[in-house]
Amino acid sequence: MTLRIAAALAAVLAAATPAAAQTYPAKPITMIVPFAAGGPTDIIARIVGEHMGRTLGQQIVIENVAGAGGTTGTTRTAQAAPDGYTIMMGHMGTHGAAPALYPKLKYDPTKDFEPIGMAAGTPILIVAKKGLAPKDLKEFVAFAKQGGDKLNLAHAGIGSVSHATALLFNASIGTKPTSVPYKGTGPAMNDLVSGQVDYMCDQIVNVVEQVKAGSIKAYAIATPDRSPALPDVPTTKEAGLPDYQVSAWNAMFAPKGTSPEIVAKLSDALNKALADPNTAKRLTDLGGVLPEPANRNPAWLKGYVAQEVARWTPVIKAAGETAE
């Protein structure tokens, strides 16, 4: 007990010295996950964080700070001391769609963070209730255009991945269905399986078993390649909608001002985790897609975030569905 406190004190003192970057990390690192435990981002953070902790010689402690579509935890990270002991796992929403969704956002994804690197993305699928008439994506697109607001789209709440990606899908095929908001993916999936709603867009990990069991059907997966988890589901390109390419990416960020040495150490540990066959397998088993080796560095992520913010802003603004 006293030993632990002494050790913690020593660690705190060590961190406070100017030579912090050399001795980093001298105490456990907190990784903020801005969502509730058990969701895809949380699981990816835990799998990657566990291996990184071994590389760095210090445990990475996951702290779930859920709220307001992930922006609560992201705001806290942006305001944290840039000493390398507070980092976060951000995603497509917090660092892409949030500026358009939340006009009063207290952070700027492109300016308030030091990107560390991309962890993994989860592909988006277009799924529908099993009794829906269209057989494939082409038929569905025609059906949706004709049906207009007669069609019911389920999503997991304003600002969720399933909401943003559905907005993008609707915009790319030019239809405006009736949206039915749910609180989370679970209840939305329940009503899709029981046929109360017609279709939704969601991450592969949330839909894969339902598709396999035939309780819902999948029209297409929005990635360049088919997923090994669902080899029979065509890509959007094959199915005739090549423009709809979207993935719920998850990437690590540190607060602005974190020293480049520390960011390099973290980025290096992240790359080692992604290169580890066991960790990589666990991520791909979830249906996760690892970034290309060339895209596993902070500089690439910086550019990607800017690109994503620019991509989501017009889509969400056009739909007029923002959180005020």
């Binding site: 007990m1 632990r4 406190i5 913690a8 705190v12 406070a16 907190t30 402690v61 996951i62 702290e63």
Partner: protein, 160 residues
């Protein structure tokens, strides 16, 4: 200490159930507050209910039940109001506020004893030496329980 006179009819004055009367006024105040806070929210239609529809509808009902309660206080007898105390609420809730303010800035090592010692003074039975020793021991116990055994990410020492 307390003044619990049950059901004794008030001599004089039209209000026969002061507690219910105050309760009714309280509910009406809550309703007014909710109506004011939700006044800028669109009501929407039945097909597409707006965000303001339910809060305002419920607030009106809360206000109505307050009205009924306050009105009934003139008709039937009820309980009297008891004395309001300040020491308990201020010290207990103050202690909680101190915990909230210090847990992330100083850590449990400060927040624990500080809040418990402040709270201890909410009763006349306080013995300050005992309170200090007990709060320090409890904090140590909490660190063992929450931090070491359950591994919750609670800051133990956050200053420096």
């Amino acid at each position: 200490m307390t003044t619990m006179d049950k059901g004794a009819p008030r001599a004089g004055g039209a209000v026969r159930a002061p507690q219910d009367f105050a309760a009714g006024l309280f509910l009406m105040a809550v309703a007014a507050l909710a109506l004011w806070l939700s006044s800028d929210l669109p009501l929407g239609t039945m097909r597409a209910m707006g965000p303001g529809m339910l809060p305002r509808a419920i607030a009106v009902l809360v206000g109505l039940s307050g009205l009924v309660l306050a009105a009934s206080a003139f008709v039937s007898d009820g309980e009297a109001l008891t004395r309001w105390h300040l020491r308990g609420p201020i010290l207990i809730l103050g202690a909680v506020a101190v915990f909230a303010l210090t847990i992330r800035t100083a850590g449990l090592i400060v927040a624990g004893p500080a809040s418990m010692i402040i709270a201890s003074f909410a009763t006349d039975e306080v013995r300050w030496k005992e309170a200090v020793i007990f709060s320090v021991a409890m904090t140590a116990g909490c660190i063992l329980l929450f931090k070491v055994a359950l591994k919750l990410p609670i800051p133990v020492i956050a200053f420096m």
